[in-house]
Symmetry: C2
Subunit: 308 residues, 2 copies
């Protein structure tokens, strides 16, 4: 029985790795085809957009969209578009976040950051154009059974990107540098900065399929919120514990920059405990979905247990 259970778990894990590789491969091919070609003008801008988006990243947000799509039996052709849109927004946010006037970072995903590889102006414009491209995608493709639902998806998506979402979170992050802030203030920042787009990934994936009840959507949103926060807590833990080579980005930056983190505010062990609690709550939110939520379940575990 114990042996059987182990095999079952092992097979589950292998299975998840295969699945996540599939998603990452699908994403790479999809993004490759959706991004403007390198040989069309303006070529340098398009090169920078491709450089910032292709060939790297954990593709966590696309995985969340695909996994949530399984809840509503969504057409993968639709999900790959919303997943691309979300990933493109994520890529643009990293490009702008790495700029000298922001985090001034030179290394990202094991490669020189966009403004180092190209130049600041090109990186700025590549980020701007990527944001527009993401919105173009969710307007250009049919993503829901009705145009009304698609417009609802666009509303949710735009809100997640703006001053009440990701961009707002980055502004608060910036304002927090060197400040004494409380845990609720840190949480508010992260709920906007990374949480908004992660929640959007989950909901947008789900919206690509058959209509879900308000109650189901609320549980998915609860899952997305917990996973988004757990993602950040784990990021802080890894930034404290890992090394630059493994993480593919400069490590210890947060501490150097005197940025408040879950580790600096709670301590390492309580931060780990908090991540575990968030994981449990995320999994609880899935309890009503049965087998359809298997990938979301595995993803939450992956996000909290990852080593980079």
């Amino acid at each position: 029985m114990a042996a059987n259970l182990k095999i079952f778990q092992a097979s589950q894990v292998t299975d998840f790795q295969d699945w996540s590789r599939d998603v990452a491969g699908n994403m790479e091919r999809t993004l490759e085809s959706l991004l403007p070609a390198s040989n069309t003008a303006p070529t340098r801008l398009h090169d920078a957009m491709r450089y910032a988006t292709l060939g790297g990243g954990k593709r966590v947000r696309p995985m969340l969209a695909f996994a949530a799509g399984l809840i509503s039996n969504a057409d993968p052709e639709r999900v790959r578009i919303v997943a691309s849109a979300v990933e493109i927004i994520h890529a643009y946010s990293l490009v702008h976040d790495d700029l000298p006037c922001m985090d001034d970072d030179v290394l990202r995903r094991g490669k020189p950051t966009c403004h180092v590889e190209f130049d600041e102006a090109t990186a700025l414009l590549a980020g701007d154009a990527l944001q527009a491209l993401a919105f173009e995608l969710i307007a250009n493709f049919k993503l829901a059974d009705s145009a009304e639902t698609q417009i609802k998806m666009q509303q949710l998506f735009a809100r997640a990107c703006g001053s009440g979402g990701m961009a707002g979170g980055q502004a608060i992050d910036l304002a927090n540098v060197g400040k004494q802030i409380t845990l609720p203030e840190l949480e508010f920042m992260h709920i906007l900065k990374t949480g908004a787009l992660i929640r959007a990934s989950v909901l947008l994936g789900a919206y690509c399929g058959t209509a879900l009840s308000e109650a189901d959507l609320a549980q998915l949103d609860r899952y997305g919120k917990r996973v988004g926060l757990a993602f950040q807590v784990v990021d802080d833990i890894l930034d404290c514990e890992s090394n630059t080579e493994k993480l593919g980005k400069t490590v210890g930056k947060d501490q150097d920059a005197n940025k408040p983190t879950y580790v600096s505010l709670m301590g390492l062990a309580p931060a780990k405990q908090f991540a575990t609690e968030l994981l449990q709550d995320a999994l609880d939110a899935l309890s009503g979905f049965g087998d359809r939520a298997e990938r979301l379940h595995q993803l939450a575990e992956f996000i909290v247990r990852r080593q980079h």
Copy 2:
């Protein structure tokens, strides 16, 4: 007869001034209410977004949207949303364009530029959040009789903002600095950089009303293209002839920056002649619309004849 004609013209001019003041006033109130409030978090970001958008600008793009809306008998409640979205994109583009890594400008609309008044990171994020807000607006409000038409408007809008539109034009503009380029190359840059959003303003305003024929839309697009180009030619002429106080932005920058302009490539008199030809072609495009095109007609004249 001659006297009557003069009175008629004078009354037309006064009438246009009243109308454009009305549009500007409507825009200011609308933007004021659509932008996130100064007292909601993140307040500094919201202040910067408001600073960059409110209290200035010629509001040419909103005027084009309102004037084009008259062609299709559009509901002004819809037009003011698309006009706001377009103006917000314009405002964000100026904020990013003025950044040190781009044009490095300190004066805009007679005020310190956004990064001078706030700081570079805040200006960067304010631009990013403004772009997201514009897309949120065209998703949040009902702008067309059918959701399908609204999605078509979103496609057109996003394309005008991205690497095949405004952001792409800025990238080409940047790449052109110090280079010998041809007139067609200069035109290609401007058709993207300012032309795309101006054309979008016209078409979006028209789409807010009753459906127009493809032929009518094509004429409106021809009008938008000519007016967009004329706008830039006149900008170059003014940058060469005017003074900083009158223009409210640093003058002679283009020449200082060794940027190719219509004046530098054609000479002053031929550039003026070219602007007049573009104006005539824009007016010709309106010939089938009769009285409904009166405001578009006046606007084209205004754009070419303006002194700042």
